[in-house]
């Protein structure tokens, strides 16, 4: 589609030169690592984890260099054209990368956090016989995720999109001998596929209406489409984003995905992959700019998920599930932010980056706790771990404070920015959304304080034979680095080196600096609600003894929260059971109905021929009588014809 690509572009994209021209190495490095580890077999067992870590660290260093050289490029957007992927008829898909401020931010997050988690995994997986396979899958994930954020067309994004889905499947099912892990992996893949259908259909609509699938082509001409078509594209993209990011109504797979090893939960199901939906919506900003309807739906999805995640997070006793629902809820914040439009993109992405640091840190801390507690995840069997695990406690505590938005830590800046952006809408919707976000902040403070109190404080409720011990340095070092991010990321991204300046080539200039409600007021209100949540948690959990088994007689609200607001039940009764029933019915129809008709026809023919065969008795004289009768009949017929 040369005609279209010659049109006006959202921002000047120039062909890549020098180092940026080699940015495909970012993807190739971890991919090569995965290939060597998977094909090399046991030969690579001894040094496989080192190679896997080295490729990602190498990619991170390359990403840093690339980012610096990108800053020097006019317009800060370069295109790396690689090869023709699919070209037939009017469809021309070229494999290529788009290196711009948005993708650069994600590349740094993925390779940076990815490197830390690789290092952590060296220690965490040290005693697993399949450690090499683990690093191979992690490398595969990093490669696919980089392709997702670097691709220069929706098709390239889709390839990466399903690629991370595969890596996620492999890693959730890493301990595949456990039926729970295998089922969770399958569930994650299937629910992601539901979202993928939306993404695929969006691409089909783009091709049918615009004749192209590249970002350049689509964003340059999307304004020429009818409003309904743009809304359809926006909603279909949102479906894809919901699947990948565990947003309502496709949120149920994410908590189950905690069956995977903890570093996987940290990297894939907290920091990077699940934020791909936010990336997709931010990347498609030119589309959403044209369709307020779809944008409102994004807002609604974000707000609903934010609350669902926060409510469910209050009720679980499994430390990883609480963190998983927290992730669901925090990504709800990000969706809410990017749904606000230009005002919210930067706020949402800043929260995404800050969340990447503190949530990865929290998960690694949880992994360290589990490491100490003989792999138990039940918080009711924790307690009093603060003294036994000082480093873990310190890093986890900083992550906790960052997450609940304690003043001057990461979450404080980024969450407030989202609430301010919501209030800047200056309409009833804005107030509702801000209210939901503030309520969510209170709930976040409640469930995270509950988690802290049950894990690190109070009396030790350890199972017999458990002797907690601090994790080795190879595990604690990444936790320390991430906790530094938890402290500083928010300030750096919002105040010191504003992300909005860096992202300006993608989203345009920052809009009005005038806020409807003063930031100070917002900060005070949010902090107040947060302190209320902490206080409530202390009243409910910290003040009394935590029972070792969960109370059975509880209010309906608690029961609903424990069942994650019945999401699985609804899925099962609305989709799974009718599906199974339909399948069974169809098998019956196919065997009895369709095949039965064919077999019935065959049996009918066979039956009538055997019945006719009965007339052949073998008695010669019967045949003779038949012949005579036949002759008489013929003669009679002749007579009748000639005489009549």
């Amino acid at each position: 589609m040369e005609i279209i690509s010659a049109e006006v572009l959202p921002s000047e994209v120039v062909p890549a030169e020098g180092l940026l021209g080699a940015s495909w190495l970012l993807i190739a490095l971890p991919l090569a690592g995965a290939a060597v580890l998977l094909l090399g077999g046991r030969r690579t067992d001894r040094w496989g984890h080192l190679l896997g870590t080295a490729t990602v660290v190498g990619a991170f260093l390359l990403a840093v260099l690339c980012t610096f050289s990108l800053a020097d490029v006019e317009g800060r957007s370069v295109d790396v054209d690689l090869f023709t992927f699919i070209s037939t008829g009017q469809l021309d898909v070229r494999a290529g990368l788009l290196y711009d401020p948005l993708s650069a931010v994600f590349v740094l997050l993925i390779t940076g956090v990815g490197s830390l988690i690789h290092v952590y995994s060296i220690g965490y997986m040290a005693h697993d016989p399949a450690r090499r396979r683990f690093f191979a899958y992690l490398n595969l994930f990093v490669a696919a995720m980089l392709l997702l954020v670097l691709g220069n067309s929706f098709v390239a994004l889709y390839v990466g999109w399903e690629g991370v889905g595969l890596a996620s499947y492999l890693l959730i099912a890493f301990w595949y001998t456990r039926p729970g892990a295998a089922t969770a992996a399958k569930k994650a893949f299937i629910m992601n596929r539901v979202g993928d259908v939306g993404l695929a259909l969006a691409i089909f609509v783009m091709f049918a209406q615009l004749g192209t699938t590249s970002y350049e082509g689509v964003f340059g001409t999307v304004g020429t489409l009818a409003g309904g078509t743009i809304t359809a594209i926006g909603l279909l993209l949102l479906l894809g984003a919901c699947g990948k990011s565990g947003q309502f109504p496709l949120q149920a797979w994410l908590p189950d995905a905690m069956e995977g090893p903890t570093p996987v939960s940290a990297l894939i199901h907290a920091a990077t992959m699940v934020t791909a939906g936010v990336y997709l919506i931010a990347r498609s900003a030119p589309i959403y700019d044209e369709t307020p309807t779809a944008r409102t739906v994004v807002l609604a999805v974000g707000a609903v998920t934010l609350l669902i995640g926060a409510i469910a997070g209050c009720a679980f006793d499994d430390i990883k599930k609480v963190l998983a629902y927290s992730t669901v809820s925090q990504i709800g914040y990000m969706f809410l932010a990017v749904g606000l439009g230009p005002a919210g993109y930067v706020a949402g992405l800043a929260h995404l980056l800050a969340h990447g640091f503190f949530k990865a840190g929290l998960f690694l801390g949880a992994g360290s706790v589990m490491h100490a507690m003989d792999d138990s995840v039940d918080m009711r069997r924790y307690g009093g771990l603060a003294r036994k695990l000082p480093i873990t406690f310190a890093t986890f505590g900083l992550g906790y404070l960052a997450l609940i938005g304690f003043p001057f830590l990461s979450g404080f800046y980024t969450k407030d920015a989202i609430i301010e952006a919501a209030l800047d809408r200056d309409d009833a919707w804005g107030w509702v959304l801000a209210g939901v976000a503030v309520l969510g902040a209170g709930l976040t403070a409640f469930y995270m304080t509950r988690l802290m109190l049950m894990t690190f404080f109070g009396r030790a409720r350890w199972a017999d034979g458990v002797h907690p011990h601090e994790s080795p340095t190879v595990m604690t070092a990444p936790m320390v680095v991430l906790s530094l991010g938890s402290i500083g990321a928010g300030f750096l991204l919002v105040k010191a080196f504003p992300l909005s300046d860096w992202l300006e080539p993608v989203f345009g200039e920052e809009h009005s600096a005038e806020h409807v409600v003063a930031p100070l007021t917002v900060g005070l209100v949010v902090t107040g609600v947060m302190l209320l949540g902490v206080l409530a948690a202390w009243l409910f959990v910290g003040r009394r003894e935590v029972p070792v088994t969960a109370p059975v007689r509880v209010s309906p609200v608690t029961r609903a929260a424990r069942n994650a607001l019945y999401a699985d039940t609804i899925n099962e009764s609305l989709l799974m059971r009718p599906g199974q029933w339909l399948t069974r019915a169809l098998v019956w129809v196919d065997n009895r109905g369709v095949d039965g008709a064919v077999n019935g026809l065959a049996a009918g023919l066979g039956g009538s021929s055997s019945r006719l065969g009965r007339t052949q008795t073998g008695f010669v004289r019967t045949y003779a009588l038949g012949m005579l009768g036949g002759a008489v009949l013929v003669a009679g017929a002749l007579l009748a014809v000639t005489s009549g």
């Binding site: 699919i86 008829g89 595969l166 039926p179 729970g180 892990a181 893949f189 903890t262 399948t583 369709v594």
Partner: protein
């Protein structure tokens, strides 16, 4: 070099090879295998050379040969290939040596505690002879440019397949073979009537009857007659493809056929149906094709979902794979009858990719069955822990089958859907739902057989059980374990021979997933010519 009669050689070499293998004295089993493999490799080399000699920018039909055969009726022994037929020949040339390699130990007594197949102790000379004859017939079907010659190969192809199923198949092989034969024969007879009808029309229009494809293409047939003749060809191809509701022979045949036969049956033979749509239905009967397109598209889309749901309900692995194929054929038919270049190119690419992906899936399932001695999914569990390479190849085949990006099938499925969408949005949206179901049936089968603890015919590892490593967080970790059955065996991983068989296919799955343009450049000109005959809009 391009004067060399490649196509004649590609038919003659395997046919002669089949005769020689069949004539070998009893007891020369190894020689029969080596000879068959050698012959099939010669054919593979010939196919590759033919592909090199083929000029993608040249005339539509190349490498042509034509000899008068029955001059009184204008029948010629005319061969030639366009891009569509060429890629199918490449697929045949590739699959047959692999199938021979995969069947290498069939008929040998079970080794290594592995229960032998139903073919134990049986002389396999004729198996390989029939395979080679089948190869010759398949090449003929795709290379014929004379409609009568096509019909002859179309029917003759049934004979070797009948014997492959009926003599070397599973417990219900007789039933399956007869069903396969009768179904195909009914279609073939209806097509014969249409072939004769076509001859009569050509005789009345040109003054002299002909079966030559190029001459028939230029006929201006009355729309009413076109509809009748179209239906004649269509029914035959719809049975062969197979399109729902004419599909019930395939699960039986594929389940009972020996693995080698099943690979060729689903991988190549069934493509004759979709190939026939493109080569004969569309160019010869353009008006009728447009008239019937809505009906065919509905059948195709219904087939995609219906067969996918049925695949989920199967307990027999081979039947499951057969049903997935029926679902995939729905996609191919959708691509062909959407009448756009992108969709039709995608459909042809789909034909090749499906042969590779499903061929691989069948081969792996066969290796699994060879070890466990059962076709029931429920008899397996936890294979991945004992045979990781087998599980890895199974996963690659499964992912290719569910069209994951990066595998070859993604490109073709994507092309079919994106090409159909502008013309037929509703059909495409419904068909796209099929990709969810594809993920379900593949992953359900994979999880039940490969994941979880050892179960059924899989003996638990003694002592060296992979430790329940890592943090035990699983809620389901306490699932009830089915006691292994009395015939349970330790599963050995892929042997060198098996690795050699699957490697080419795994490599192609990835290579064609990243560089599909290699084939698209060959396919596209032929598809454009076909759609020109049809007078399609785009």
């Amino acid at each position: 070099m391009s004067d060399f009669p490649f196509l004649v050689a590609m038919i003659a070499v395997p046919a002669l090879g089949a005769a020689v293998v069949a004539a070998l004295p009893k007891g020369r089993e190894l020689l029969a295998r080596q000879l068959s493999l050698g012959v099939s490799l010669v054919v593979l080399v010939l196919t590759v050379l033919a592909a090199v000699a083929f000029d993608t920018g040249g005339e539509r039909f190349q490498l042509t040969t034509s000899v008068a055969w029955i001059p009184d009726f204008g029948v010629d022994f005319a061969l030639g290939v366009d891009g569509i037929a060429l890629v199918m020949l490449l697929l045949i040339g590739l699959l047959v040596p692999l199938v021979i390699g995969a069947s290498w130990e069939d008929g040998a007594p079970g080794a290594d505690g592995v229960p032998a197949a139903a073919t134990e102790g049986r002389s396999m000379r004729f198996f390989f002879a029939w395979l080679l004859l089948l190869e010759a017939m398949m090449v003929g079907v795709f290379a014929a440019t004379d409609v009568f010659l096509f019909y002859v190969f179309f029917e003759a192809m049934l004979v070797p397949m009948y014997f492959l199923i009926g003599r070397f198949g599973g417990p219900r092989r007789q039933y399956a073979a007869v069903k396969f034969f009768l179904y195909s024969l009914v279609g073939g007879l209806i097509m014969l009537a249409a072939v004769i009808g076509l001859y009569v029309v050509s005789a009345s229009e040109l003054g002299e009857g002909t079966f030559a494809f190029d001459a028939l293409r230029d006929l201006e047939i009355d729309p009413g007659v076109q509809k009748l003749l179209f239906l004649g060809f269509f029914v035959a191809f719809a049975i062969k493809a197979p399109l729902v509701p004419l599909h019930t022979w395939l699960p039986d045949s594929a389940a009972e056929a020996p693995i080698g036969g099943a690979v060729l049956l689903v991988g190549v033979l069934d493509k004759v149906g979709t190939f026939g749509f493109l080569r004969y239905c569309l160019p010869l009967f353009p008006d009728a094709s447009r008239y019937f397109a809505p009906l065919v598209l509905v059948l195709a889309v219904v087939g995609v979902l219906y067969a996918a749901l049925l695949a989920m309900g199967q307990s027999d692995m081979k039947r499951l794979v057969a049903y997935t194929s029926i679902s995939h054929f729905g996609f191919i038919a959708l691509g062909i009858f959407a009448f756009t270049t992108e969709a039709a190119t995608g459909a042809v690419l789909y034909m090749v990719n499906h042969g590779i992906a499903t061929g691989l899936l069948f081969l792996v399932v066969g290796m699994l069955i060879a070890r466990g001695g059962s076709r029931q999914i429920g008899d397996y569990g936890g294979v991945a822990a004992q045979a990781p390479k087998l599980a890895a190849v199974f996963l690659v085949a499964g992912l290719a089958s569910l069209a994951l990006p990066g595998t070859n099938s993604f490109v073709s499925e994507f092309l079919v859907l994106i090409g159909s969408f502008p013309e037929r949005p509703v059909h495409t949206i419904v068909a796209t739902l099929g990709i969810i179901l594809a993920a379900l049936y593949i992953l359900l089968m994979y999880q039940r057989t490969m994941h979880g603890p050892a179960r059924g015919v899989v003996a638990p590892a003694g002592g060296d059980e992979p430790p329940e490593a890592g943090p035990a967080g699983g809620a389901g970790a306490t699932a009830v374990l089915t006691a292994p059955s009395a015939t349970a065996v330790r599963f050995r991983d892929l042997s060198r021979r098996e690795i050699a068989v699957v490697t080419p296919l795994v490599v192609l799955v990835i290579v064609l997933g990243v560089q599909p343009q290699l084939l698209l450049d060959i396919i596209e000109p032929a598809v454009v010519a076909t759609l020109d005959d049809l007078g399609a809009t785009r």
